[in-house]
């Protein structure tokens, strides 16, 4: 469903990606952990087609149409209302925003408020709704839990779980080993653009993965 082969990309002298290869099958979530500057966001951008890798290739079955992206920034227009934002992004995918999505994320009562009037947590919820508005089957998630309160984080987990149950796949990059491990079927540790560890989670708990991460990155 999602495949990367020998990805290499540098920004001047800084190595963003160094021979990264992996594949993610339907129903799988790969969690990628790494310190700042490890190349996690670059990896997601290459998978999304926002950056062309200097070597190697990335393939997403279904192309850009099936990708849902949650990044550091919400990719919303502050002057527009929640509904107008979702309508705009949906129309670019020839889709229409469903009311159910707003309900699941607890955004019903905020739908006609401008995004600039919302709290950071609500904005992040709208960003999640934006990413899911076209029913994507491949999710690329860059620190998706940042700024979310407990209720919204739980709603996000449920939504991601639904996408996986329906045969979707996702790549999640985060600093937070505990949160990332909960969702993961596979785990990778990244340092200086390389995967230094890549294996199925295989029943390991967050504590065990965190311990392995500390050992691998140290």
């Amino acid at each position: 469903m999602l495949r990367a082969e020998g990805l290499c990309h540098s920004f001047g002298a800084v190595r963003g990606l160094d021979d990264v290869s992996f594949s993610v099958q339907p129903g799988q979530t790969l969690a990628v952990f790494g310190p700042n500057g490890a190349g996690k966001t670059t990896l997601l951008k290459v998978l999304a087609g926002l950056i062309q890798p200097q070597r190697g290739s990335a393939h997403v079955e279904g192309g850009r149409r099936v990708i849902g992206w949650i990044g550091h920034q919400p990719q919303l227009y502050a002057q527009l209302t929640v509904r107008e934002n979702l309508r705009f992004w949906a129309s670019l995918y020839d889709a229409s925003p469903s009311g159910e999505l707003l309900t699941r994320l607890g955004l019903d009562e905020h739908a006609d408020r401008p995004v600039r009037a919302l709290s950071r947590g609500l904005v992040q919820r709208v960003a999640i709704a934006r990413a899911l508005v076209h029913d994507p089957t491949v999710l690329l998630l860059d620190e998706p839990f940042t700024g979310l309160d407990r209720v919204a984080a739980e709603a996000l987990r449920r939504l991601l779980g639904n996408v996986m149950k329906q045969g979707g796949a996702s790549v999640l990059v985060t600093h937070n080993v505990e949160e990332g491990t909960e969702l993961a079927t596979d785990v990778a540790f990244m340092r200086a653009g390389r995967f230094v560890h890549f294996a199925p989670r295989a029943g390991r708990g967050p504590g065990q993965v965190a311990e392995e991460y500390r050992n691998a990155i140290a």
């Binding site: 087609g49 926002l50 850009r64 920034q73 919303l76 227009y77 527009l80």
Partner: protein, 228 residues
């Protein structure tokens, strides 16, 4: 991608930009005030006995439009940097040229609005016969505007992620504006002087060719300019 999809997505982007501008009104009000102030300064800063109004007005009209348009064009892609919406646009399964065309449409509406404010003020301050030649004047303004807004929209996309975008845009754009501006000034001058329309036909043709060439070039080049 099929042309109807290209145009539909372009209109989606343009209408979003116009709605955002309508909600904030910050840019249009700032530029409108700029146009009024520049024309007031020119009005009081000229020696009416040295150069006749009909000779002076076309240059002042186009200098004012040029700088107002640059201010307006600077904001075209700034809007997309806010919250990194540009990444979302680039990720969407649409032809990237439709993003350019959408921005071009929104910028044309924006700059035209400024011109609608500027023309009556020039007529008022310089006492030139605008109403009498309104049709050909609108045609001249429209043809010149399409050309420099087409190039300006492309350069706005190129410079938006640079550190000195506000400075870099005019530095890149002004050399490309020399030809259409000079044709527009000459055509406007002849019109306001009451010369026959046949005298400006050549300049209008050249403006139309300029528009055609640079709109096509910009549509083709835009996808490469927004790659990271």
């Amino acid at each position: 991608m099929r042309s109807p999809d290209l145009l539909r997505h372009a209109w989606t982007v343009a209408s979003k930009d116009l709605l955002v501008e309508f909600r904030s009104r910050t840019a249009i009000l700032s530029v409108a005030v700029f146009v009024v102030l520049v024309l007031v300064v020119f009005n009081f800063g000229r020696d009416a006995t040295a150069v006749s109004n009909v000779d002076l007005a076309p240059s002042i009209l186009w200098v004012t439009f040029t700088f107002a348009a640059i201010l307006a064009l600077n904001r075209a892609f700034q809007l997309e940097l806010e919250n990194q919406a540009l990444e979302g646009l680039l990720l969407a399964p649409i032809d990237r040229s439709s993003i350019y065309l959408g921005k071009l449409i929104a910028n044309l509406v924006f700059v035209s609005t400024i011109e609608v404010i500027g023309v009556p003020l020039v007529a008022l301050f310089f006492n030139v016969p605008v109403i009498q030649y309104l049709g050909p004047l609108v045609l001249t303004i429209a043809l010149a505007t399409v050309g420099f807004v087409a190039i300006g929209t492309l350069f706005s996309a190129m410079t938006v992620r640079t550190r000195f975008a506000e400075l870099l845009l005019p530095v890149l754009l002004l050399p490309f504006m020399i030809l259409p501006l000079s044709w527009a000034v000459l055509a406007t001058g002849r019109l306001l002087a009451g010369r026959p329309l046949s005298e400006i036909a050549g300049w209008l043709n050249m403006l139309a060719v300029y528009d055609f060439v640079f709109v096509i070039l910009a549509v083709l080049l835009f996808p490469a300019t927004v790659n990271e």
